[in-house]
C-alpha cells in the first residue's frame, strides 16, 4: 500500500492510471475526481508524516497496489446486513459510513451480527466534516466507479488480493481500563443512555458523571477478550442523558479509562511497524484531545475520523490494515 497527500490533480492521475484507491478529503476536493476504481469519504482532518493538519484542498490517498480486482458497492437500508456479500475469495473490504446517518447507527448497533462479518477483514471509518460545519453540512461517501455521492448508506470497496497476500486488521488503543474505578453496565444498547448500573446500583448516568466530575475526554473502555474497545462521550446533559460517539452495549462491563498521558509520546512508544505500508485511520478525538495538529504519529498516517471501523465501530482508536505474505501468515 502507498499513502500520500495529493492534490486533486495528482489523485485524478492515479485514478486515470487505473489504480485502486481509498480517498479522504473535503466534499469539494472529492467532487472533482474522475470516475474510476475508488471510493471516498469526507474528512478534512489528517495525520500526515509532517504532523496533524486540517486541509480542505488536498486529499489523503491510499493506493491498494496488491489489489487484483476491486468492486465498489453502495449498501443502504435493508441491504446493509448484506455488505459482506459480493466480496472476493481472498480479499478484504474497506467500508466508509457517513457520520450521523441511519447506516452509521444501524452498523454500530447490529454490524457484529451481520453474516460472515468476521470471515474477512472489514476495515474503514466514519466520514465527517469540519467541526465548524457541524449541523450545516452532512458527511458524505463517494462511489468513484459511478461518480455518485451519498449522505447515507455504507460505501464498500471489496478488494481481491493476489494469491500470495492476505490482509490482517489490528487496533492500537492507548486507553486502558482504570481497574480502581467502578464497573459500569447498561440495560440497553445505544448511542444515548439515561440510566446505568454503577457497581450494581442504578443511577441517572448524566447526574452520576456530573457528580463524579469525570473528565469526559476519557472514554468508557470494555474488554473484548483482550481487545480494549472504547465508547467516547459526546455530551452529558443532566435531565436528558449521556450521548456517545459509539453505542454502549447492554450487558457489557465498562470502566472509565485511565489517562494515557501525552498522546503523541505514548503513541510513538507503542506504534510498532511501518505504517507507510498500511491503510490506517485515527480518531478525530485523539487529534483534538491529543492536540495533534502539527504533531506526528510517525509513519502511521491517514484521516482523523468520526469513528473507526475494525469489524465493528470503535472510538479513540487507531485502526490498521496490513498485508502479509500468505505463507508467512499461515505459519504465524
Amino acid at each position: 500500500m502507498k499513502n500520500s497527500m495529493m492534490t486533486p490533480a495528482e489523485a485524478a492521475a492515479r485514478i486515470d492510471a487505473g489504480a485502486v484507491l481509498v480517498i479522504a478529503g473535503s466534499e469539494e476536493a472529492l467532487s472533482h475526481l474522475p470516475k474510476g476504481r475508488w471510493i471516498g469519504g469526507t474528512s478534512v482532518y489528517f495525520m500526515t508524516e509532517t504532523g496533524g493538519r486540517i486541509d480542505r484542498e488536498n486529499l489523503f490517498v491510499t493506493e491498494l497496489d496488491a489489489a487484483q480486482e476491486a468492486r465498489p458497492v453502495h449498501y443502504q437500508g435493508e441491504d446493509l446486513p448484506s455488505l459482506t456479500m459480493g466480496r472476493y475469495d481472498n480479499g478484504l473490504s474497506v467500508i466508509l459510513l457517513p457520520a450521523f446517518s441511519k447506516a452509521h447507527e444501524e452498523f454500530a448497533l447490529h454490524g457484529a451480527e451481520y453474516p460472515g462479518l468476521f470471515d474477512q477483514p472489514v476495515m474503514g471509518w466514519v466520514t465527517g466534516v469540519h467541526l465548524d460545519d457541524l449541523g450545516r453540512v452532512t458527511p458524505k461517501v463517494f462511489d468513484g466507479s459511478r461518480g455518485l455521492v451519498f449522505e447515507d448508506g455504507a460505501m464498500v470497496l471489496h478488494v481481491a488480493l493476489r494469491a500470495d497476500r492476505v490482509a490482517d486488521i489490528d487496533i492500537l488503543n492507548l486507553f486502558e481500563q482504570d481497574m480502581d474505578g467502578q464497573e459500569i453496565t447498561f440495560s440497553e444498547s445505544g448511542f444515548k443512555v439515561r440510566m446505568a448500573h454503577v457497581d450494581g446500583a442504578e443511577v441517572d448516568f448524566a447526574d452520576w458523571v456530573t457528580a463524579q466530575g469525570l473528565d469526559t475526554r476519557l472514554p468508557l473502555v470494555a474488554n473484548y477478550a483482550g481487545a480494549l474497545v472504547n465508547a467516547s462521550f459526546q455530551s452529558v446533559t443532566p435531565g436528558e442523558g449521556v450521548a456517545f460517539y459509539a453505542p454502549v452495549v447492554a450487558g457489557t462491563s465498562y470502566r472509565i479509562a485511565r489517562s494515557p498521558g501525552d498522546y503523541a509520546t505514548i503513541f510513538a512508544e507503542r506504534a510498532k511497524g511501518d505504517g507507510r505500508q498500511e491503510l490506517s485511520c485515527n480518531c478525530i478525538l485523539n487529534f483534538l484531545y491529543g492536540e495533534m495538529e502539527s504533531k506526528s504519529t510517525g509513519s502511521f498516517t491517514g484521516p482523523a475520523t468520526f469513528g473507526e471501523i475494525a469489524y465493528i465501530l470503535l472510538n479513540q482508536t487507531m485502526v490498521r490494515l496490513q498485508l502479509h505474505a500468505a505463507q508467512a501468515a499461515a505459519v504465524a
Binding site: 468476521f118 486488521i169 477478550a225 483482550g226 450487558g251 457489557t252 475494525a310 465493528i312 501468515a329 499461515a330
Partner: protein, 69 residues
C-alpha cells in the same frame, strides 16, 4: 482439525471471561458477542457453540486461536 461441537472447549470458552491473549481481533470480537448472548440467554448455548465452531471451520486463518481456549 477443528474440534467437534461436543468438545468441552467450546462451552468452556463461551462460559468464561478469560482473555484471548495472542488471538486475532476477529476472534476476540466474535467471542465477546457470543459470550454476551449466552449470558443473556443460557439456553442458546448450543447454537452459539455451533456458530463459533462454524467460524473456525470456515476460517483457517483463525484456527490457531483454538489453542488459547
Amino acid at each position: 482439525m477443528i474440534p467437534d461441537v461436543s468438545n468441552p472447549c467450546w462451552k468452556r470458552v463461551l462460559m468464561s471471561e478469560t482473555e484471548l491473549a495472542g488471538g486475532i481481533l476477529a476472534t476476540k470480537i466474535l467471542l465477546t458477542r457470543l459470550r454476551r448472548e449466552v449470558k443473556a440467554k443460557p439456553q442458546d448455548l448450543p447454537g452459539k457453540i455451533a456458530e463459533l465452531q462454524a467460524y473456525f471451520q470456515k476460517n483457517s486463518f483463525a484456527a490457531k486461536d483454538i489453542a488459547l481456549f
